[in-house]
Subunit: 357 residues, 2 copies
């Protein structure tokens, strides 16, 4: 049995989206249980649902709230209470195996980090998502904005965590890792990227990851590697630009097919084909980014997700929990620390640093 905790108040639409998604998820996952977190009145429609526990939280982190407010003021927010469900206290198992929220990304990351803490050897948790590629498969990209100005060691940690994720969720034992750069040659890029390349090659030599080498922006969509690691600033810009480009192209296609009566007739004929295309690139099916490196599984849904998209985030969290993603990440990180002492030292130094914060 897998139990998910759900922040029902998060996102642009709150319970009007999250509750129908939870209902659908329960119907398709007869072995799953849900802990729904939110204001009592908002959760009322879910009273009496099978395999469902309601947990009241009096506050809501708004999309515009600062981190300060999310962390220090709203201690009874649905976001924080939902995340707390995956925290295991002194040997006691956690109430839930994974948490899903469509709330503010920065707040979700900060609260998750504060409540759950990071795994040994992980300085900075990362956000990972999947992006469809030409091979009709997915490329897993991280980090998508949790970290800016990443060091080489951070990029190594992303590679290790990303490998655990693809292993657990896609069942690929030794997924390939690409280092995002501005050229394929090892001499390309700045000092950080070059050092990251060295570390990744070293990790590959120790059998920790399956390192392909440098990849470029277009390789994400070619599907050259299963995983692409990059600094969070770059990943965030890349993801948003891709969303922007896809939106623009979809808009252009719509405009072209509605230009006049002739094109509208053509659209009618082409409709089944266009719908098939639309379904194939429907970003809602890729919803649900993993926050990796924490002592608990947290998944982030797009804030503007509809019920269909939010359900996909629930599915993703469920699959990750079912396949033991948390332990797999932990095991791989421990193996990395054991095999690469330099990275371990750095991990310790950073952990000490963390403890001071």
């Amino acid at each position: 049995m897998i139990r998910l905790s759900v922040d029902c108040m998060g996102g642009d639409h709150g319970p009007s989206v999250t509750l129908p998604a939870c209902r659908a998820f329960l119907a398709s996952h007869p072995e799953a249980e849900l802990i729904l977190v939110g204001r009592s009145d908002a959760l009322a429609p879910a009273a009496g649902w099978p395999r469902t526990t309601l947990v009241a939280a009096s506050e809501v982190v708004e999309m515009t709230d600062t981190l300060e407010i999310a962390l220090r003021r709203k201690k009874d927010s649905s976001l924080r209470v939902a995340v707390s469900q995956v925290k295991s206290d002194g040997g006691e198992p956690a109430a839930a195996h994974a948490c899903v929220s469509a709330g503010n990304t920065a707040a979700l990351m900060a609260v998750s980090r504060y409540v759950l803490k990071t795994l040994d050897g992980i300085d900075r948790p990362a956000i990972a998502t999947v992006i469809p590629n030409e091979r009709d498969a997915y490329t897993t990209v991280l980090d998508l904005g949790a970290n800016i100005d990443c060091s080489a060691d951070h990029l190594l940690q992303f590679a290790v965590m990303g490998s655990a994720l693809v292993d657990a969720v896609a069942g690929k034992r030794e997924p390939t890792v690409g280092l995002l750069n501005i050229g394929e040659e090892a001499i390309k890029g700045g000092e950080t990227i070059k050092r990251a390349g060295d570390l990744l090659r070293k990790a590959a030599a120790s059998g920790l990851i399956n390192f392909h080498g440098n990849v470029e922006g277009n390789d994400i969509f070619k599907g050259t590697t299963d995983i692409v690691v990059c600094d969070g600033f770059v990943g965030n810009v890349l993801l948003k630009a891709s969303e922007g480009l896809a939106t623009m192209l979809a808009g252009f296609i719509r405009q072209e097919f509605t230009r006049n009566l002739g094109t509208r007739l053509a659209a009618l004929v082409a409709l089944p084909v266009l719908n098939h295309f639309k379904k194939r690139v429907d970003h809602r099916r890729y919803n649900g980014a993993a926050l990796l490196g924490l002592r608990g599984l947290v998944f982030k849904s797009h804030g503007s997700a509809d019920a269909f998209a939010f359900e996909h985030a629930l599915n993703r969290a469920y699959d990750a929990a079912r396949n033991g993603l948390l332990d797999r990440v932990h095991d791989r990180i421990l193996a990395t620390l054991a095999a690469m002492p330099a990275a371990a030292e750095l991990g310790d130094a950073l952990a000490a640093d963390d403890a001071r914060v």
Copy 2:
């Protein structure tokens, strides 16, 4: 009269693409003159063309050549000789007003920098290109990979040079500038980005640029601002990822319409609409990136450009030269140095640094 120098040997296809493009360009620009540079045998077909001078260069910089080879070994390369045509020696006007090459980007930048030198106050030349946006206009993005690990001052210089470019080529007197970031709020991003934001606001207060504020990846395609400035690593990844995504989507559309007899018939009906769409997003029409900040105009064509695309790069270089882009960039940079002494000091320090190299 505007005269362009053309590296006829550059790019994946060399003279088989560049010569037909030059021929078409001459036909559509009755006031233009060309200096065609390349191996004598390769240029033979152009003998006798109107308004055309042939200049022999015995060597060719290959796409795989290192910078060392491009700079120090192949001193009689078509790339170098073509760039040299826009160098003005001691008051003597240059032979050409702008140079166009489809050669290796890094080699073109390094040779241009070595032969032409940078303008006063410019440490790092930048590469700028236009990207189509939802408003059926273009967003000018720089830098696209000439510089990695850019400082705040570099981003300011990019904003000033980009403004001169859009002013000259698109005739927009006060184009808006966006700073690429991972959020709209001024507090987002790392130290460099925040300092760049401060500098850009200061420059806007002095009337040097029209600063909009932070923009995100999707704003490039929304057309939120006329210009988007970013670090070259980010710009390069972003551009290549966008090309990759567009290629993938085009491939998916093709696949869907050729799936079976029914979809092929639908394609037949939809063909005029699809062709119109294809034309609208045809990247060949955006070919021709400007190398800004040099003491001469150099334009870089995509290496894989066909004759249609290469002709567009020629058109772009012609328009830039005709509208005095070089003087406009220089004037704006001088005004910036005058109004923002801190940036000027930095410029001097870097120029001294340059002189040592």
